[in-house]
Amino acid sequence: MSTLIGSSVKRKEDPRFIQGKGKYVANIQLPNMAAVMIKRSPYAHARILRIDATAAEALPGVIAVFTGQDLIDGGVGKLPCGWLVPGTKVPTRWPVMPVGDKVRHVGDSVAIVVAETQYIAEDALDLIEVDYEPLPAVIDAKKAMQPGVTQVHDDIPDNVSYTWALGDQAATEKAVASAAHVIELDLTNQRLIPNAMEPRAAVAQWNAASEEMTLWTTSQNPHPIRLLLSAFTLGIPEHKLRVISPDVGGGFGSKIFHYPEEIIVPWVARKVNRPIKWVATRSESFMTDSQGRDHVTSAKLALDSAGKITGLHVQTWADQGAYLSTFAPLIPTAFYICLLSGLYKITNIYAEMWGTLTTTVPVDAYRGAGRPEAAYLVERLVDLAARHLDMDPIEFRRINFIQPDEFPYQTPVAMVYDSGEYDRLFDAAVAAADYPGLRADQAAARQQGRLVGIGIAGCIEASGPAPSKVAGALGSAVGFWESGVIRVHPSGKVTVLTGSHSHGQGHETAFAQIVADELGIAMDDIEVLHGDTGLIPFGMGTYGSRSAAVGGTALFKSADKVRKKMLKIAAHQLEASEDDLVYDRNGGGVYVKGSPSQKKSFFDLSFAAYTAHNLPDDMEPGMEETTFFDPPNFTFPNSAHICQVEIDPQTGAVTLQKYFAVDDVGKVINPMLVEGQIQGGIVQGVGQALLEYGVYDENGQLLSGSFMDYAMPRADAFPMFNTSRTETPSPSNPLGVKGAGEMGTVASTVTVANAVMDALAPLGIRHLEMPLTAEKIYNAIHANGR
């Protein structure tokens, strides 16, 4: 019956974007609006001795200068952390550093300038004098714990904010000790900088008469931001605070978190009683957007003589930066350690981690968020294991796969996998890539002395967070359900309100497809609204590839409620039993079974619900249904990716020549959107493998602080990708969908890294750290005496 679900419908949101009518926060212009800019620290770690804003305040056009003490005196609270594993020491984080305290990363905020224009505010920043007493920096997750290292927070002596461990330590150590083969690997998963193309921005408007605040902010989840503002930071209660995240220009995790500027901007708007705008410069994005990854790991993979994996032992030091960002502890715990089983049956896994504080920008979720780190570790180990045993890397993976009849599969690291057919997935990838052909070509190329590599990876992720009870047990302070409202108007047109937030995903299209199919009405009769706490009941927002599985399901269930109410009205008006009626999934409305002409149309029933002239006695008027859906489990998308690279031995430069991706993201609502997510995800992951690195020097200076220093993937670095899908529906939701937003990134980083190491294997090079730049590879080639 479904005609739209599964179709590549063109996006409803595109006409405004392609004509320059996107409603981004920075585009908001309000009468009498003033600008805010933030004075930021040039030091990674320094005591603030004095702030003198006299000259700045005297500059014509400057309205006010505020420091941290002004905010504290004005009632602003500390930024909280929303995910706390037991025993976490949460470092104090104020929105702006008060006089007498320290700055803890380059870009940490010091003072606030309010001026008539952004140009004047920028001038005033240079006129603020700050005396700093520089302190030593610490930039390494593991070294941060060493005795004698500078202390980032006075009350956290060893810079360890929290630790976490999972699995059977004794059994795993025994498995390693008794293994026929042990593959050992130390690796670093380097710091990344998210760089959504839209810099963060905030606009606030205070209505002094009604004491209502409106804040427009570039957030992936405006409702949780409002809750944090009300309960912890700004102190304006939820019913007087409207938070709107209109069109948001990409997020990739970096726009989930509660940032100082979205406290400062409304606070200033109320203080000076004028609308206020703040827009980050790209430099500020580099220095203040939460960053990603940054793990140091030592691991041991135990194998029996036949090549079966018998154990995995992992120690990871995760750099959390200077403060704990909103969900920071989630990433290296439940989203990393809980994914260390990969696609494999591993009886014994033990993992322990330390979340340490350094004088760097805070680290939190970035596309994939823990799962790329897990996939990178597991799939590098698996690749090295296959090489050690002289087995084909795909064959090695196959003998260790969880089998289709073993689902639901309980891993030793808490997760229960929902569904999957990993052999079928790899069959599809082998066929798409002509894997034997690739190997034959590689052999021929090697004969000619060329450095051609083939990369394989089979990856899994946990998407669609999350069962709220499970999240709570793991440390979350919030639940991870989603809301979905279907409001049928008297005329039969429909407004959909979703708590999910689209910042590029295309919810206005995909959710309209679900509702149109489920109600049997035209997509043009449906408008999907999101991102406004004044309109949407509540919403947990979009991240973790959750929107289709959780937000989509909420709407699916609301549609079912609408159909049921319409059936009841039709039964009453047609004087028939509901059992004798059919909801018309092709045209909307309800007809008598076997007699389609005896029908109440979608319009008839919508209108009747509002006139309320002829409804069943026990029925309330109106036609609006709400669902808060809390999923019973995560979903577990999985993938088989294969690529080919060639390295120029003269320069060390890597060329990505071919890329084949087969992904199982469950049932698909809109294949065009899914393919777009996979393609974009692949490029982001390849960026980590080959290009991107957030580099700090020993003084904590961010060396890669602009697009001239931080290598972003560009169009000319990629071939056309060959993407396809296998489909095992997820039992975790009635749509059968998994998640598509992060799978490409989770898989592509290690696929390309494995390809580069495969190319270099004949030279005896076992492992190189990412990013696999030309310089690094050139040096490795020459270090081997070639």
Binding site: Q19, G22, A26, Q29, G249, G676, V683, S706
Partner: protein, 156 residues
């Protein structure tokens, strides 16, 4: 302050501007044409690309005073008489955008790219758009969109 006169999307504007004002701020803040986005400080990303006297330029790297007397087209002026430009249509058809933030600059850059090289190849499209960053799409559908538009712009 200095007086400048520019024609933007066919309408002529005379305004007093500070000599240091960037053209992109003039377009966005003074003329309220907010379709042209700003995404970096360093001329690296191309989000602010517009047409200036027939050339694609990054409007963050031009001063408003340098545009005095020139004719500009922004994304808002690309469609004619309510009809999308072939490049806009192609980005829609090929799913060449996700969050949409790089899209105006990408479309403006791609339009000139194809006008200057009507029989453009895939490699030339990729090379020609190297100065325009997109974090969402992975570029593949952008390349497909430009190829579709190139065919359409030749009357194909």
């Amino acid at each position: 302050m200095q007086s400048i006169t520019v024609t933007v999307n066919g309408a002529t504007h005379t305004r007093d501007v500070e000599p240091r004002m960037l053209l992109v701020d003039f377009i966005r803040d003074t003329l309220s044409l907010t379709g042209t986005n700003i995404a970096c400080d360093t001329s690296q990303c191309g989000a602010c690309t517009i047409h200036m006297d027939g050339m694609a330029v990054k409007a963050c790297t031009v001063l408003a005073v340098q545009a005095d007397g020139s004719s500009l087209t922004t994304i808002e002026g690309l469609a004619t008489n309510g009809h999308l430009h072939a490049m806009q249509q192609a980005f829609w058809d090929q799913h060449g955008l996700q969050c949409g933030f790089c899209t105006p600059g990408m479309i403006m850059a791609a339009t000139k790219l194809v006008e200057n090289n009507p029989a453009i190849s895939e490699a030339e499209i990729r090379h020609g758009l190297e100065g325009n960053m997109c974090r969402c799409t992975g570029y593949q559908n952008i390349v497909n969109a430009v190829a579709q538009a190139a065919t359409a712009m030749q009357g194909g």
